[in-house]
Amino acid sequence: MGELQLRDVRKSYGHMEVIKGVNLDVDHGEFIVFVGPSGCGKSTLLRMIAGLEEITGGDITIENKVVNDLPPVKRGIAMVFQSYALYPHMSVYENIAFPLRVERLSKDKVEEKVQAAAGILQLKERLQHKPGELSGGQRQRVAIGRAIVREPSVFLFDEPLSNLDAALRAEMRVELAKLHTELDATMIYVTHDQVEAMTMADRIVVLDHGIISQVGSPLELYHKPQNTFVAGFIGNPKMNFIEVSGKSSGPEGVVVTLPSGKDLTVKVDAAEEVAGKSLTLGVRPEHLTLGTADASIEIVPTVVEHLGIHTVTYSTVAGAKSTFCSVLPGSAPAKVGVPVSMGLKGVDCHLFDGNGNAFDRQLSLEELDATDMHI
């Protein structure tokens, strides 16, 4: 149970194609997160799976049944809305019981299931309250409770935590992860919060203008983004991009020339000739070190943030596509206006061709767990 397939799924509003052919296989029990910039079609895709939005083209299959024309209730899904969509006039109990009432379940059954859900979600004390009397986190839990009682094979969440404050969000994140394990259900989760995506997902689906840009585990996306879009989107602060020119390529990697004229060997496999081509070098702020490494870049911080745990610098660098950022240890002696040298390691860098597609990094994901990477 709980498998889901999308086959060339499309959606148009009038002449505007919003989802442009999405293919995705979800296994039972997976936690899939859709991320992407605002307007990229995350909600639309989720709502198409839910049956709230008509499908313009393609097929959606849930548990080996094409559900394109089924109403939501027949799809075996449950959905949690961003606004929670709690019925303000009903008690928590009645809110959770709503789907069961629709089914005309017997009183005892309803009682049993609601109590079970309330138990899982620690809402037993609140059952007689109205949603208006609950805190944000509690409301969120009620919304989940309403989804749980239906025992669906697929849970759909549309930015369920975006109305909560940071602390509560962190807490609920952990709870949702636990719930996922407990219920052993397939979950599809839309968010634009990176941390949520990275922490909760088995696999992340990065959407860009209605097409899937990359699908993969969080670490895969972090370490092996397939293009500049994913590379820039995953990771906070954003990856730094520097215009470089290719020099040569070989088994040990690709040699590029930095704007400063120095060379750096990036540990990637080149599929094509790179000499003389203009390429983009990507390096995450947290992979920069004070001093020099395989190569270095001179920066003059314009802003320095001391976060205790980290010190973050921002500077303008020739060849960099936007503000150049580095995340240094909390004790790093960076000062505004004082020039400093930033070390780059070829093994940590990413390289992209003129179309923004990544060269394959010489790094096996299996090794990642064992490798002792910086930070």
Partner: protein, 280 residues
């Protein structure tokens, strides 16, 4: 998707709408048909919806029976407009006071204002009459305007207040921090920001003032040239024969301009009612 209907649901909805709109619109259709019939076929038996000799003659001949129709229409507009303007002049500051300020007796005062709703003009007509007479105001526009104004104020305050409450307080605080005085803030910040709400209040006040012009005018005014439309047309009933076709023609011509205006304003009306509907 959510709003996809099955064929029988469409049938039910349109059938329901047909019945509902028939109830609402039948009188207008009837009025129009009557206005087209010559008097003789008007009183014809058995009832025929379409009679022969239908024509627009009544729209021409009515000018003899109500030569002042234009004047009545203008009066109606004029009275409703002045009521609305005066009403707004009272409503806006009062609604602002109730929406934004803490002062002793605020709630009871508001309650009193709202409660005034329950005294129609008919209830107060005697003393009002004496009052008007005392100050020589009978047979003036003022006699019709003043009571109208009083009875649009409570609803207006109620509507606008619920709108103003939703304007963030920070706007005023920001203006205050910037040194703007209270009147300046009201004039330059609150009123422009509340404009959609004010538009709604304006429309509802106008509707009320326009629709309820009968009793004050009938009682406080007897100068024909000052009469609003309903009283002007009521004169048809004072004759030996009620010239129904002309009455209907005159009624339709008389109300056409407002109907026309409201077709264009309907967006605001529905939107504005939301203001009141969301929170009571």
């Amino acid at each position: 998707m959510l709003h996809k209907y099955r064929w029988y649901e469409y049938v039910l909805i349109y059938l329901g709408l047909a019945v509902f709109l028939t109830f609402v619109l039948a009188p207008f259709v009837e009025a129009f048909v009557v206005s087209l019939r010559p008097l003789s076929s008007l009183f014809s038996i058995p009832y025929k919806f379409i009679t022969d000799k239908m024509s627009f003659d009544a729209y021409i001949t009515m000018w003899q029976n109500v030569p002042l129709l234009w004047v009545y229409m203008l009066n109606s507009f004029f009275i409703a407009t002045v009521v609305t303007v005066l009403g707004l002049f009272c409503i806006i500051p009062a609604a602002y006071a109730f929406a934004r300020f803490e002062f002793p007796a605020r709630n009871s005062l508001l309650g009193i204002f709202i409660a005034v709703n329950m005294f129609s003009g008919a209830v107060l007509i005697i003393p009002l009459f004496k009052l008007m007479q005392q100050y020589g105001l009978l047979n003036t526009y003022f006699a019709m305007i003043a009571p109208g104004t009083a009875f649009v104020i409570p609803t207006g305050i109620w509507l606008l207040r619920s709108y103003l409450i939703r304007i963030p307080k920070e706007l005023e605080e920001a203006a205050w921090v910037d040194g703007a005085g209270k009147i300046y803030t009201l004039w330059r910040v609150i009123i422009p920001v509340a404009l959609p709400g004010i538009v709604v209040v304006t429309i509802t006040a106008f509707i009320t003032a326009y629709a309820q012009q009968f009793i004050y005018a009938l009682t406080f005014n007897s100068v024909n040239e000052l009469n609003p439309l309903p009283v002007g047309l009521f004169q048809f009933f004072g004759r030996q024969t009620v010239v129904w076709n002309e009455l209907m023609a005159a009624s339709l011509v008389g109300i056409l301009p407002v109907l026309f205006v409201y077709v264009f304003l309907q967006r605001f009306i529905v939107a504005g009612l939301t203001a009141g509907a969301v929170k009571e």
